[in-house]
């Protein structure tokens, strides 16, 4: 299969080159390598790897000639880093594609990534850092018959590790920008969209009759007027029981999700108010329960934090059911005012709250039927709450400072899939100071001090980081995370890390040594649980 495709690719490239075309061809891509050594550390529970060092690497190549594009990705896991699933094993070219565009029609064969609307019914994407990649393999057509009208349709199978899931996924989406399509000179802009995705999988269940075709559809609307912007999407997934052999294990209820956001902004000020409601809305590439088969994306309705201790207890969408609200306010206090000072001051406020649906999510079988109330907040189980304020200020030509204070409530049982009542809710208060000082042109020192106070979970943490950078080539950093408040004295440990790196143009090399704590790491809305580790790391990233 792969051989055939590769040959076809070579042939098509050769043929293309014999055509006399004015478009010159170009080849570009990028290479990433992550190597890590694993030494045992009984104190933090880090295990040594049999291989001593583990290595992940990727090379992407894109070939372009005019309106023709082809490319591939070589992936190498020898063997995969410990925080990756060990189903990533060995080498291969799991991603290859060819695509051309002519008269508004774009044809892609092979692998592709695609998203319908916000992703509520379908998103295929990759995040190499998290080991997430559900690329499609099949055919995709995109067509724009008129300016402002965008149609796409696709069919294929969804990738899981080095194989493809059993289901065949078909999808179509239409988006119309009314102002562009009808040539309206209106101040109000309206964009509407409709998506449909369906999965086919044969029913071989000996006991129950399961739907072989499962559809999901979504409607979206975006209205923009001056500084105002409303955006909403409603999605439904038809019944999709997992195919359990017990009656109680099969839920025949439909799923649905609603997200809605209203934004207003002008120079120096912005506000975003959002809500979402999710009910039994996980959509998978096959009738299974494992997370690695998920093909839709319900954006987490909380702020994506980057400071370590703010992200120690991260939130994740409970696709089975949740109700959430979020508010963000961005404000810049003007230069020259009392609080603004010489350079102005920036404030960012964020509040989010996520709770359970009333008496759980929708359920339907012969014995039980339940549909939760549409809105219920008070009295429902809290999943996550975060209230935080960030202040950024340039103090003078040499000093810049950021301060953050936050209060978070984290339902450890729900968010980490533990038995209800084991840990309860971890309440934490966090404060952060981040100060950078420019010594002289190109030389900067940056200090981060972070403090998290909590009774639950692992108790309180402190963190300190010092970074020294010499623009444009060098950086050095040392950091220590100290779990001084752990209730078990033997776990009151330091996690020290040293990193240095060299950057030049398109190349970046980073070497590190240190201990990483076990925990949940989330990037781009996806989370994974990683084991604690101790050792050297090498990361090379290059683009051409």
């Amino acid at each position: 299969m792969l051989k055939k495709i590769t040959y076809t690719l070579i042939l098509s490239l050769l043929t293309l080159n014999s055509f006399s075309q004015n478009n010159s061809s170009e080849i570009h891509g990028n290479f990433d390598l992550n190597m890590q050594s694993y030494q045992e550390d009984e104190l933090i529970g880090a295990e040594a790897a049999d291989e001593i060092i583990l290595n992940n690497a990727y090379l992407n190549i894109n070939y372009t000639k005019g309106d023709f594009v082809a490319g591939l990705r070589y992936e190498s896991y020898l063997n995969a880093l410990l925080d990756f699933d060990d189903n990533y094993k060995g080498n291969g070219i799991p991603f290859r594609y060819a695509s051309y565009t002519i008269d508004g029609l774009e044809v892609t064969v092979g692998n592709y990534y695609e998203q319908v609307g916000s992703g509520l019914i379908f998103r295929s994407y990759e995040n190499k850092g998290l080991g997430a990649d559900n690329a499609m393999d099949g055919i995709r057509l995109k067509y724009s018959p008129l300016k402002g009208i965008y149609l796409k349709t696709f069919i294929g199978k969804s990738r899981t590790y080095f194989t493809y899931a059993e289901g065949i996924i078909r999808g179509a989406d239409a988006e119309v920008n009314l102002n562009e399509a009808l040539n309206l000179e209106s101040k109000t802009k309206i964009i509407i969209g409709q998506g449909l995705v369906s999965r086919f999988q044969a029913d071989i269940n000996p006991k129950f009759k399961l739907p072989q075709n499962v559809a999901a559809y979504s409607t979206r609307l975006n209205i923009i007027n001056g500084g105002w912007n409303y955006s909403g999407e409603y999605a439904v997934k038809l019944n999709d029981p997992v195919g359990s052999l017990t009656s109680e294990g099969n839920n025949y209820a439909k799923g649905n999700a609603l997200m809605s956001s209203l934004t207003y902004s002008k120079r120096g000020f912005g506000i975003v108010a959002e809500m979402h409601r999710v009910d039994h809305m996980e959509f998978r590439s096959e009738r299974a329960q494992e997370k690695q088969y998920i093909i839709n994306y319900i954006p987490t309705l909380t702020k994506q934090h980057t400071y370590t201790l703010l992200a120690l207890y991260p939130s994740a969408t409970q696709t089975e059911g949740e109700f959430g609200t979020q508010i963000d306010v961005f404000y810049k206090i003007k230069k020259g005012s009392l609080l603004g000072g010489k350079y102005g001051t920036k404030l960012i406020f964020n509040f989010s709250r996520i709770n359970a649906l009333n008496v759980g999510s929708s359920f339907l079988n012969d014995n039980r039927k339940h549909t939760p109330m549409f809105i219920s907040i008070k009295g429902e189980e809290l999943y996550y709450k975060d209230i935080n304020l960030e202040v950024y200020k340039k103090i003078n030509k040499k000093i810049r400072a950021t301060g953050v204070i936050a209060k978070q409530s984290y339902n450890k049982d729900v968010l980490e899939g533990k038995t209800p009542g084991t840990y309860g809710i971890v309440e934490s208060t966090i404060a952060i100071a981040d100060i950078s000082y420019k010594i002289k042109k190109g030389y900067t020192v940056r200090i981060e001090l972070q403090e998290l106070l909590a009774d639950g979970g692992e108790g309180s943490w402190s963190m300190g980081l010092a970074e020294y950078t010499i623009s444009p080539h060098w950086f050095f950093a040392v950091q220590d995370m100290y779990n001084w408040g752990n209730h078990e004295i033997s776990k009151q440990l330091h996690y020290v890390n040293i990193n240095f790196g060299y950057l030049k143009g398109a190349n970046r090399i980073e070497i590190g040594y240190g201990k990483k704590r076990a925990g949940i790491f989330c990037v781009g809305g996806v989370c994974k649980e990683v084991p604690s580790s101790n050792g050297f790391s090498l990361a090379i990233s290059s683009s051409f």
Partner: protein, 164 residues
Amino acid sequence: MRKLFLSIITTILFSTLSIAQSRSLPSVLVKTLDGGSINITEIENNGKPIVISFWATWCKPCKKELNTIAEVYEDWQDETGVKLVAISIDNSRSMGKVAPYVNASDWDYEVYIDPNGDLKRAMGISTVPHTFLLNSKKEIIWQHKGYVDGDEDELLEQIKKIAH
């Protein structure tokens, strides 16, 4: 398997060796802040330099880079005529925060969103920030990964080299 891989690389290399290498922007649609779409090849600065900077609302060094340049952007424009195009890779979780963040920060950049990473992949980007400099023919002539304080000085030097 390995042979095939090698053969395909060689084929590609040979087939392009004869052609003078220049690097142009890939033809990819990105979203505008008012809900529309634009092909990134359509960005224009009348033959003056263009800087393309990939960022995200959740990326600290990215925001630091763009906030720092914002303080001197007017001077840069007067001096070199440069235009900065900021491309956010925020996905549907945070893309709604892009416009209010940009507005509240007083940025004068042209801002687009690449919500599912199509342009990011086409331009070979693995992490943000990642900055490109385009010459008068919109060919990429310089790029830089990451941002530390002071990197904007090197960028300005590169811009000056090609500004007329």
